[in-house]
Amino acid sequence: MPRLIIDNQKIEVPEGTKVIDAAEQLGIMIPRFCYHSALGAVGACRLCAVKFLEGPVQGIEMSCMTDARDDMVVSTDDPEARAFRRFIIECLMMNHPHDCPVCDEGGHCLLQDETVSGGHDIRRYKGKKRTFRDQYIGPFVQHEMNRCIHCYLCVRFYQEFTGYRDLAAYQIGYRVYYGRFEPGQLESPFSGNLIDICPTGVFTDKPARYRGRRWNMERSPSVCIHCSLGCNTVANARYREMLRQEARLSESVNGHFICDRGRFGFGYANLPDRPRRAEIGKNEASWTEAVRALANRLTISDGASEMKKTAVLGSARSSLETQAALAILAGSAGWPMPAYFADPHQSSVCRTVVRRLDEGLAVSMKEIERADWILAVGADPINEAPMLALAMRQAVRNGGKAGVIDPRPVFLPFDFTHLPIPREQMEFCLNHLIHSGIARQEADDAGEAVAGFYAQLPEEAEFEEAVREGISTLAEGLKQSEHPVLICGTDIVPLSTPDLAADHAHLLNRIKNTCGLFYILPGADAFGAAMLEASAESAFEDLLKAIEDGEITALMVVENDLIGAYPNRKRLETALDRLELLIVLDYLSTPTVDRADFFLPTTTVFETGSCFINQEGRLQYAEQVHAVGAPIRQLRGRSHPPREHRDEVPGGDPRPAWRAVADLVRALDLDEIRLYTSGPESWLTGSKGPFRFFQEKIYPPREGRILPAESEVAPFKSSIKKEAKKPEAGTLDILFVDRTFGAEALSALSEPIRRAEPAAAAFIHPKDASELGLSDGDSAILRFEEGDLEIPVALNNDMARGLLVIPRKPDLEWQTAGARFPRIARNRIAGVRKETE
């Protein structure tokens, strides 16, 4: 442990620590451009020069390139070091344009700060400035190359950290150009981080271009709700409009970066057609009127205080507060306990996840980065949880092996083994792979339960040559692995897979002493939703059945687009027609909202503080960013704000959904007065709720995992088939899947995401395509019993046979298929030739 002195302060740091980090631990921020703690040091910018007064190194040296060693005496503000840094700044500023007023980076620009603090204020160089032409690099990032100071951070991040190659350095010397070979959209779904990482204004936020400087923004720590990972962000709003999101450093979740879906997906909160007034029927009403009228409708007039029995459907994107409040409402009103997933598949898979995940198994993304063997089952990380792909890439960069068992065409920005196995055979393949990677002796040594489970695993398997090779590579990797991690998707896996994955994780855990289990869930707070459903044994299927039987005549849907989410459109329509009363609470304008008899507008995550539990069981709190109200820009368009004094904020009616529930409880005169008399801390723990972790009554809660030390479910109970299930001949499996851009319900409404999303296309294996007579770009018409679905096809070699992969886009009526995992006979697919000119 080297001990050194920096600016007269003693410090002891671990071996290999750079001097720049050692200084940072002392609270001394040495200026830097090219050094980034996630990307390491390259010593390109020369700005972090400090003077070494005594010790093994002496004189001016770069603090980011020098390891801390014993007896070093470092001065960061030695006159010589200062002069050196000022000179560096002056050189960097030689070609920098004079455009801070029109540059969006101004105000949070590192170059600006360093120039001012370095004391460089007069340009002495009288020559001409070098210029570059800018490129169009997609709807997210604005390119202005003249401002570049050639620190290389962008290319290092883009190529080394995210693994994409289309942004690169061109030319030599002082003419080095960072850009694409041809203008075009950046391929990486992490390109938004260039905005954060660029120390000056070369890459700036395009959607928020010119909309405000850092000091104008209302900034709050927030949590991304566009997938289940719960990445940490800083949300920026101005004039009641969400403008920008930045990544917030979270050691255990997302590190320094976030994906573009999370960064630019906030557009739904600003939509001009966002409903902001309560509605009775189709007539606008004030909040109080609507709640009172609703309470009257829910109270049966002839039966004194009896309530109309109402089914309640919450959502996986709602905050924990809303979900818990719904449970309290239903409990105290004597209604059936609420369901939270419209999709029965999601419901049962997520419940399994909640039951199986415990502290012994769960890993964070940080731990995935340290894993040396990663197997993803039924998961498509870049599309379902993009930041997971980045974490996996870091593991691979550190020498780990990665494999994916998934029928879909899976792309990941690193080398990995893809086993394109049909959906029914994934479990079999997983069993076989684990069996091949573990020696019998190891299993026998790990105890009876493990050995018994191991013995059931299939030893033999018939797969194609390529798959067999992949399995043996991965098995070989598993044998040598010390920190394996299993990733299990939930979107397309069979219902039993999460259980099986947990069992395998237990198996590896017993043998290797450490094995992580990482699930991907369908929603920001799917974990909380599943906890509530699991504890109340409720399911939307049961509620729907009761509606169909006429037992229940009212339905309350909270922040859930039921019509968009339920996989069987026809059945749902029939059920909805039987309803007497449909109550919808939401902040989006959805088809479900259009059908509502009563509508109450709710707030987004940016307008109210709320808790979310991510897929690893980590409780996080997103703070309120801005006040509720219509964005000022929407009041008068591209003109000045209204010139009037008003008592209330225009468009300020929406309230948090849980507050709406509380108002309803009050109007119905139910027992649960806690809901409206005190804050969430007093009722979140709820007598009926499973949220024991709120016992401390700290609100907002402390961030952290809330998992039980050990799951109540005993491991190794999965039933294991010795034989792979053969796919049915003559039919195609259809998978409706998530995409990075355009399939997730909230971000799909965001304008820049809409521009970035690729055209909807169904992936199909070339052999299946040729059997069907389809070629790339043709449209396929799928003739389901309930109707037709037309979609262009894209051929892809890297996927299972007998499969059609269709993105679950909101504008695609995929629910006509009538089932979550439909099969379609080949003769019901018709092709339409692409029109060639």
């Binding site: 007023p101 010119y210 405000g212 400087r213 104008n216 000045h640 704000p641 010139r643 004094h645």
Partner: protein, 186 residues
């Protein structure tokens, strides 16, 4: 110890003289012409740099100078300036879609003028714009924009900025031709 006893006569004389002087001085002033300037009839010519009503000036080409960089609003001690910037559709130039100064709050300190990098915002000697309605003090961009360059008629920010609003990069006198990416010629 003996205290110095004031001479009563000297003392009284000085008192009388003091009183006499006071009456004399006031009577002399009584006979002088009043120095008051009667304001609405007579308006004292103000120096060019006196700080009154704020204007937004135009550059020599007649285009508005303000690029809505938010610096004036940031420096304003009373937060009376607000604006929103946007990209002009015709030429991609940054400009203020709205720009508002609340003169009811303004203290005419001139810091906005100091901060303005494009010399757009300037204080004029005009101070006569009282209103009865406080909302009438809220000036919008169209009220603030004038058709001249104010005190600095010749300055044009974009000729020095190093960014283009119109035309190609490298078009300014202080700039080299843009680097050709596809050539290795130095």
């Amino acid at each position: 110890m003996t205290r110095n006893k004031p001479n009563i006569w000297k003392y009284s004389l000085s008192a009388v003289k003091g009183i006499y002087d006071a009456y004399a001085v006031s009577m002399i002033n009584f006979l002088r012409k009043p120095v008051t300037e009667e304001y609405p009839e007579y308006k004292r010519p103000l120096p060019e740099r006196s700080r009154g009503r704020i204007i937004l000036t135009r550059d020599p080409d007649g285009d508005e100078r303000c690029v809505a960089c938010y610096l004036c609003s940031a420096v304003c001690p009373t937060s009376c300036i607000s604006m929103e910037s946007a990209e002009r559709e015709e030429d991609g130039r940054r400009f203020a879609i709205w720009f508002r100064i609340n003169f009811a709050r303004c203290i005419y300190c001139g810091q906005c003028e100091e901060a303005c990098p494009t010399l757009a915002i300037q204080l004029t000697p005009d101070y006569e714009f009282c209103q009865y309605e406080v909302l009438d003090f809220v000036y919008e961009k169209e009220d603030l924009l004038v058709d001249h360059g104010g005190r600095h008629p010749d300055y044009n920010f974009y000729r020095h900025a190093g960014v283009t609003e119109k035309g190609d990069k490298g078009a300014h006198p202080d700039e080299e031709e843009p680097v050709n990416l596809k050539s290795n010629m130095p």
